[in-house]
């Protein structure tokens, strides 16, 4: 009953946030005009709504949902609420992949693929580094993530500065390093949506096995989980979701960390339920953060990463203090 109520509230809140995201923007458009624009009316405001605001709101929702689902998956496998794509360096790897793809002149629709390749490389590397001591602790994963994030960040900056492509320069201002929803085209959005759908399906299928990690890897194995295969599947799924998110929005921290953690208090620990709820909750968080980024200093626009960072970092610190006994 409680679960149903929470889901209903989340879906309603998502609808409201999306409506707000479409209604509010740098150019004031009356609600009636927004509606007729959505229904296909041909006008300037129609173009703004259909080609700018709607893709942007959908993009933000997609990114937030993907990051939150990936966070829930990683937290479950590592048995620790301090993990997400951002702190494990996965996002940084995806960012590097995406930037290289743009710099090398790939088709825009291939950018998510490059981001996925980068994310896969990054998370595989972090996992290998964290494994060096024999057993993976969250602390080693976080340390490896920090190292990789700064390394990938340096490479991204190098590419941005040395590249003369206009597309890169434009996005560099808001995008790759600070996070910013900048949907270029509907086709890019569709590719990302398909990737996220595949990732979410995989995450939901993996969820019961992630539950079995509750008492650690060895107990998961004793319960019948094939550790190597499951670990590989979880890492690949995380990379898929992160790649899609980063291709659209660059580096956005804390959404993947905070959303599953907060929902766990309300819905309990079972991962299938947690992932299903994380998707709308993450979407809400990012649609609202993007709305804030567009309107706080209008007509100037903040990178959305500024908003998620301002809200998320204090939360992360509080979490760190509370759970300090377990990460070491």
């Amino acid at each position: 009953m409680r679960t149903v109520t929470v889901f209903a509230l989340l879906v309603a809140a998502l609808a409201l946030s999306a409506a707000a995201g479409i209604l509010v923007g740098a150019v004031a458009i009356a609600p009636g005009d927004v509606l007729s624009a959505l229904l296909g009316a041909d006008s300037t405001s129609g173009t703004i709504i259909r080609e700018l605001r709607l893709p942007r709101v959908l993009g933000a929702a997609l990114v937030g949902g993907a990051l939150a689902a990936a966070g829930a998956l990683l937290q479950g496998m590592l048995r620790n609420p301090l993990a997400d794509p951002f702190v494990t360096g996965t996002s940084a790897g995806a960012s590097l992949g995406a930037v290289l793809a743009v710099a090398l002149g790939f088709e825009p629709a291939l950018v998510p693929v490059a981001a996925f390749v980068g994310a896969t490389g990054a998370i595989a590397l972090v996992w290998r580094l964290a494994r060096l001591g024999g057993r993976t602790t969250v602390l080693t994963v976080l340390l490896a993530g920090v190292v990789l994030t700064s390394f990938a960040g340096a490479l991204v900056t190098l590419v941005l500065v040395s590249s003369d492509r206009l597309a890169l320069r434009l996005r560099a201002v808001l995008g790759w390093l600070q996070g910013g929803i900048s949907v270029i085209s509907w086709s890019e959005l569709v590719v990302a949506a398909v990737v996220v759908a595949v990732g979410v399906t995989a995450a939901l299928l993996l969820a019961p096995r992630i539950d079995a990690y509750a008492f650690g890897e060895e107990t998961a194995a004793a319960l019948g989980v094939d550790l190597d295969r499951t670990t590989a599947a979880v890492l690949a799924t995380t990379a898929l979701l992160t790649g899609a998110a980063v291709a659209i929005a660059g580096l956005i921290g804390f959404v993947g960390l905070v959303i599953p953690h907060a929902l766990r208090f309300v819905l309990g620990a079972t991962h299938r339920r947690l992932i299903v709820a994380s998707i709308p909750a993450g979407a809400i968080a990012l649609v609202l953060a993007d709305l804030g980024a567009r309107t706080a200093l209008a007509p100037a626009e903040l990178p959305v990463g500024v908003i998620t960072g301002l809200v998320g970092a204090p939360f992360f610190l509080a979490l760190l203090v509370r759970s300090r006994r377990v990460i070491i």
Partner: protein, 267 residues
């Protein structure tokens, strides 16, 4: 016909060989206590039996099937393991924890069927944990959490149950209750149990057979009175442990060796 049979097991970690040719058999309805000093290889043997550590040589046979031919899921349907550490940070309920015992029997979509729900309810009932079912695992006492984990292993419906120091961190009353429960399950459900026990007196009270392990080899395998003897206990555990007979079974009492004051008073 549930059983686990290990033959000539050699196993270890990297360069260090821990088990040097160990034989162990547990049949249906038996409670086999694995005893021995720290570092003797008890937990390692348990991991090999459960398929969690690959032996460098030797064989493990589960219910007559060579374990090397079984994948993780197939092993988990035949052997349940009660872990030594069962702490989790996440707010699972006791029922959700017990349901983890069904992991090896879930279908491709991973949903619990009516059979699974029934097995979970039975396991909770058998362990007397039904009243705990909706409580959060991180908010119950150590003894209650132990019961939840035991119920999780039972929900696995495996014929072999392995326990690694199931009484660690429990007070004497809970130690007794846990082993009583395990012994009853072995008897009534025909489960083959192998339990690593540090407390020789608990082993003497509840085991149908005792295997004494030292330096990675079996020193003796037999009934309680033939394994927990003054001679063997002194040889394997060293001095300071007196073995007396009490109520027809051996009883081990730690003796202070260097307390002259007390000695003088007693003398």
């Amino acid at each position: 016909m549930s059983s686990v049979v290990a033959r000539a097991i050699r196993a270890g970690y990297r360069e260090r060989e821990v088990l040097r040719g160990v034989d162990l058999v547990a049949h249906e309805g038996e409670v086999v206590a694995l005893i021995g000093p720290n570092g003797a290889g008890k937990s390692t043997l348990l991991r090999v039996l459960g398929g969690l550590l690959r032996a460098t040589s030797g064989s493990v046979t589960i219910d007559g099937v060579d374990a090397a031919t079984l994948d993780r899921r197939a092993i988990a349907r035949r052997i349940a393991v009660v872990p030594q550490v069962f702490e989790t940070l996440f707010p699972f309920t006791v029922r959700e924890i017990v349901a983890l015992g069904r992991t090896s029997r879930l279908g491709p979509l991973g949903t619990l069927g009516t059979d699974d729900a029934r097995a979970v309810a039975h396991a909770l009932d058998d362990i007397g944990a039904t009243d705990l079912a909706e409580r959060r695992i991180d908010r119950v006492s150590g003894g209650e959490r132990q019961r939840a984990v035991l119920a999780m292993a039972l929900a696995q419906e495996a014929g072999v149950l392995l326990l690694d120091e199931p009484t660690a961190h429990l007070d004497p009353a809970h130690q007794r209750a846990t082993l009583e429960r395990v012994a009853t399950l072995a008897r009534t459900r025909g489960i083959a149990v192998v339990a690593v026990l540090h407390d020789l007196n608990l082993a003497a009270a509840f085991a149908s057979r005792v295997v004494l392990l030292a330096d990675g080899a079996v020193v003796r395998d037999g009934d309680v009175a033939h394994v927990i003897t003054p001679e063997l206990v002194a040889r394997v555990f060293g001095p300071g442990l007196r073995v007396v007979a009490y109520d027809g079974r051996p009883f081990v009492i730690p003796e202070p060796t260097s307390q002259p004051e007390r000695r003088a008073r007693a003398g």
